[in-house]
Amino acid sequence: MAPSALQPPTRLSPAAALALSQQAPAILRSSTSIAYPPPLNKLLSGSENSEKWLQYENLIMSCLRTGDDQAAHACLRRLIVRFGDDNERVQALRGLVKEAEARNNGALEEVLKEYNQILSGNDTNIPIAKRRIALLRSMGRLSDATSALVQLLDFSPTDAEAWSELSDIYVSQGMYSQAIYAMEEVLVLAPNAWNIHARLGELQYMAATAPGVASGSYQQYMAEAIKRFSRSIELCDDYLRGYYGLKLVTKRLLIEGALAAKQTEGSEFTLPDTNTIERLNELATAKLSEIVRRSLSHDRGWRGYSEGDIAVARDLLGEDESQVTR
């Protein structure tokens, strides 16, 4: 099934992005090419819906990705005619097109200068501020990007997306405790987001298994990871990612069983006893194998998981079995 042009295409697979950008000519053709400016549009082109503009926005992104610059420009032109040249979102999209077409570093510097100029006129232009951060990060200037992002969060602390980006930048630099802090801020803003709980669990696990972690904080990280994964499962039935993480963590803890016995007393998060960990591990194994089995046999109502995820889960289960037979 072709992906819908109504959803942001940043996480699509290359094949899906290609399919989406191939819809572009049809979508461009199906709507009138003349977009009238605000006072006339109501009279001449009937009612408009917001979906149309969202579609254009997403098409720009996927067309740029697949290298179809012509279609991207066509979409952008329509947005400019409709919303004007100085609309913040349109400005950001125009910057995006320029970034994508920049051939060398000089051109990128040029785009960056433009962003700075816009921000010096209006420093609360959040879409442009975000583009600038993304561009800095893309150019490898991570410290600049981080400080700009922290500045942005200073005056807009309820922006969950920005906190999530900050966390991602910290992870890419291996600064796990900062990344965990930023992810916790996302959870404060979106407490029911099951994927963010799972993500935080993954961060805790990464922090725990990073080289050179003290044994006390190792256990704390692992205990937190179990909690986060469990919460994500609590928020979402049959959540493959949550069960996968839970199994990964409990398996590791069971292998190191002896270590868990002597816990540091008085720390905020203590590991549950071995019995509980064992039962959690059994539950995760049972659930994972059910998901894998039903998904592989294409049962009705179990086809929502991605094939890659299922394959990885099967590998994890397979590892387990080979250990048992040995």
């Binding site: 940043t10 290609l18 990705r65 290298g67 997306e161 994927n195 963010i196 979402c236 039935d237 998981y305």
Partner: protein
């Protein structure tokens, strides 16, 4: 399922129509008889109500129509968070399609996936590079 509900609704409609027709016939007959009776005796006797069987038929047919309509509604959306979230993860788009195969307009998958995808921070140059890499790999595979 839909055929059954349609059949039941149609049956209910038929019964209701029959009841209406019977009621009309009954009142016509009654007024005719009253007119003829009035010429014979001057007492207005037959102002009576509808017979019981027509009343019962009306009520029963209304209920049958209701049952048919209720059976024909789409399955209700889950109201528990974890069930709803699980449905999104487990079934994907399939769980939110109607009988004609079109995905619900307001279906967006996991609404929180935006927090991980971060469309406003997209690194378009990297995506472009990755895509051309993917194309080249596909070409190489086809050439083999």
């Amino acid at each position: 399922m839909t055929l059954l509900s349609k059949a039941i609704t149609a049956l209910g409609g038929l019964l209701l129509g029959h009841a209406c027709y019977s009621a009309r016939e009954h009142t016509t007959l009654l007024s005719l008889r009253a007119a003829t009776a009035a010429t014979l005796t001057s007492s207005p006797t037959a102002a009576g109500s509808l017979p019981l069987d027509i009343i019962i038929e009306t009520i029963v047919s209304t209920f049958i129509i209701l049952v048919g309509l209720v059976l024909g509604t789409r399955p209700l959306r889950p109201i528990e968070w974890r069930v709803w979230a699980g449905k999104i993860e487990r079934e994907g788009e399939e769980g939110f399609t109607d009988s004609s195969g079109a995905v619900d307009k307001d279906f967006v998958g996991n609404p929180f996936s935006l927090l991980e995808a971060r469309p406003n921070f997209v690194d378009i140059r990297k995506q472009r590079r990755d895509f051309s890499e993917w194309v080249r790999k596909g070409d190489a595979q086809r050439a083999q």
